[in-house]
């Protein structure tokens, strides 16, 4: 047992620690948020203010030219459309095919359960890598086709195993009951397992959508047709390959000092992350849940 005096010392020390921690966490919180605020502020400021490095938290000399020109000249709407179609297609394929395979592999009396599990397990330890996959996509004639972004990642061993573990958590008796009522296997999956796995589909669906939204590498390799490229490739073009040089109006205004290159670049960054930042507050519960779902069950 500690003496009273010592306990008091510990109490004071502990309160000081709490206070310091609150301040420290507030600073960290700002570090997480400030870069986004700075991007918003700069995208909406005048060339004069940006080039002298005076913009910090809020826009100075408000100016929306960057957004106007970006949406007028860079085919952002087209890129949004492409990305959304790819994301929905990839997610639908992935959820459907993974569910089918995971359901079958969950059944204890399925004859091919062991060999198929090993068949999938092998792909977790060995992979062909960039070049052999690239050659395959070329041989299949999928260059410039959105299928090259949808099919290769539709089924992964990892997600099949997580789905299977999730299905196993659902009581086997429900399945037997449905069978006695005369439901076929497909029917049981669709009307018993799928409705009972809403958390699973919410997180995997969300991760797939965000993953496709954020991916650019597959498109860099396989999609050469400018009009078919997703949003990340448009951002890459605007920021890194001086893609604005083909956009005459932007180039003119840059030369006349009416516009700062950052106006367009930061506007494009925001156009790219905007949709994600908008849905994040409503769905953040599912995001955090997803990490644990994979960790515990996988």
């Amino acid at each position: 047992m500690a003496s009273q005096k010592m306990k008091n010392q510990i109490y004071v020390g502990s309160r000081l620690f709490d206070a310091a921690l609150i301040v420290f966490m507030a600073v960290l919180g700002l570090i997480f948020v400030y870069p986004f605020l700075n991007v918003i502020a700069v995208s909406l400021s005048s060339n004069q203010m940006i080039s002298t490095g005076q913009v910090t938290w809020f826009p100075k000399e408000f100016n929306t030219l960057g957004y106007g020109l970006l949406f007028a000249e860079a085919n952002i709407w087209g890129a949004y459309y492409n990305t959304i179609v790819i994301a929905i297609g990839a997610t639908a394929f992935s959820l459907t095919l993974t569910s089918l395979l995971a359901y079958v592999l969950m059944l204890r009396d399925f004859v091919l359960r062991k060999p198929l599990t090993i068949y999938l397990l092998i792909t977790m330890f060995f992979s062909g890598g960039t070049v052999p996959t690239y050659l395959l996509i070329m041989d299949l004639g999928l260059i410039n086709s959105w299928w090259s972004l949808i099919l290769p990642n539709a089924v992964s061993a990892y997600s099949v195993f997580v789905y299977r573990a999730f299905y196993r958590g659902i009581s086997y008796e429900i399945r037997e009951a449905a069978r006695i009522d005369g439901a076929g296997e497909f029917r049981i999956l669709l009307s018993v397992y799928v409705p009972l796995s809403k958390a699973l589909y919410a997180t995997f669906g969300l991760f797939s959508l965000v993953g496709v939204w954020n991916s650019f590498y597959d498109a860099l390799l396989y999609i050469r047709d400018q009009g078919r490229q997703p949003i990340q490739m448009v951002l890459r073009k605007i920021v890194f390959t001086s893609g604005t040089s083909t956009m005459t109006e932007i180039t003119d205004m840059l030369n006349n000092g009416l516009l700062n290159a950052k106006n367009v670049q930061y506007a494009c960054i925001l156009a790219t992350i905007g949709p994600i930042l908008l849905v994040y507050p409503f769905l953040q519960k599912y995001f955090a849940q997803g990490m644990q779902l994979g960790a515990v069950k996988g």
Partner: protein, 299 residues
């Protein structure tokens, strides 16, 4: 055989997935064979001649003067990334766990996950903008009385930007696993520690730390394998004419040789080498963990 026929519905359900895995996972694994071949596209993987000498593509890599530079760059980036991104989420989780006030804690947590959902193109675009002369990083430098400079020119600030942004993106998200380990700690332990007059540091050391140790070692083993797997798309985007030679790592090397230049067999050989080393690293770390702490190894 009769059972197979009885279960034909089930087999039918599994077929689309099996076929996709075969095409997009197994065929590329078979394609690795070209690492040992003199690949001719017209003759295919099997029809191409075996390389002469057999390991020609590997020998070519180790004889190349630049290869050592590339290997060194990769190790430098990989080790720096591991050293900084590995402990940060752990420390963040412990501190967050000590934080009083549920609402405040939740807010910080929620905010800390946001950077994780930002794509690599966006991150590098932001770094590119912030590092320029009138960008945010230079606002900070000026605030500390330093001159404004172009941080994207040359490779001097590459590692700082690369690792710093990786920590920024990963610290909140990486803390989730540690936080769930910490939430499983029996509060009774804290009550006992209070009666015994333990201070905060002693409680962290003797209660929180042992609770996250198993998670820590599993993650360390998994991370060790990725030392040579640098975030390749990020480096690819960060490269410019002024820094390309210093920034070349194994995976960007594979990209340039294979996809850009079309040296398919050479690139595949280098990639195979990276995979084998990665596997050995995981195996080695697992052995080391087993020696030090027998309960926490992976297999």
């Amino acid at each position: 055989m009769r059972k197979l026929w009885q279960q034909k519905t089930l087999i039918l359900m599994a077929i689309p997935g099996i076929v996709l895995v075969f095409i997009f996972k197994y065929i590329p694994i078979y394609g690795i064979l070209i690492a040992f071949k003199d690949y001719k596209a017209a003759r295919g993987v099997w029809g191409s001649e075996w390389a002469d000498p057999f390991l020609e593509n590997f020998i070519r890599f180790f004889k190349n003067v630049n290869s050592m530079q590339v290997l060194w760059n990769t190790l430098r980036v990989g080790v720096a990334t591991l050293v900084w991104t590995f402990p940060m989420p752990m420390i963040f989780a412990i501190l967050l766990n000590e934080l009083k006030g549920i609402w405040y804690k939740r807010t910080i947590q929620t905010v800390s996950y946001v950077p994780h959902f930002i794509s690599v193109v966006v991150i590098v675009s932001m770094l590119n903008g912030f590092g320029s002369v009138n960008g945010m990083f230079n606002d900070v430098r000026e605030w500390f009385g330093l001159a404004r400079i172009d941080m994207n020119n040359g490779d001097k600030y590459f590692l700082l930007q690369y690792v710093g942004s990786a920590v920024w993106q990963g610290v909140g998200w990486g803390s989730i696993l540690y936080l769930s380990a910490l939430s499983n700690v029996d509060t009774f332990l804290y009550d006992v520690a209070n009666i015994d007059g333990a201070n905060r540091w002693q409680k962290i050391k003797n209660i929180a730390w042992p609770a996250i140790l198993p998670t820590t070692s599993v993650l360390l083993i998994l991370n060790a394998g990725s030392i040579l797997n640098t975030d390749f798309t990020k480096i690819l985007l960060m490269q410019n004419d002024s820094n390309r030679s210093q920034l070349e790592v194994l995976s960007t090397f594979v990209y340039y040789q294979g996809i850009v230049r079309g040296n398919f067999e050479y690139a595949t050989a280098v990639n195979l080498f990276v995979s084998v080393v990665g596997f050995l690293m995981v195996y080695g770390t697992n052995m080391a963990v087993r020696k030090i702490n027998p309960e926490n190894n992976l297999w």
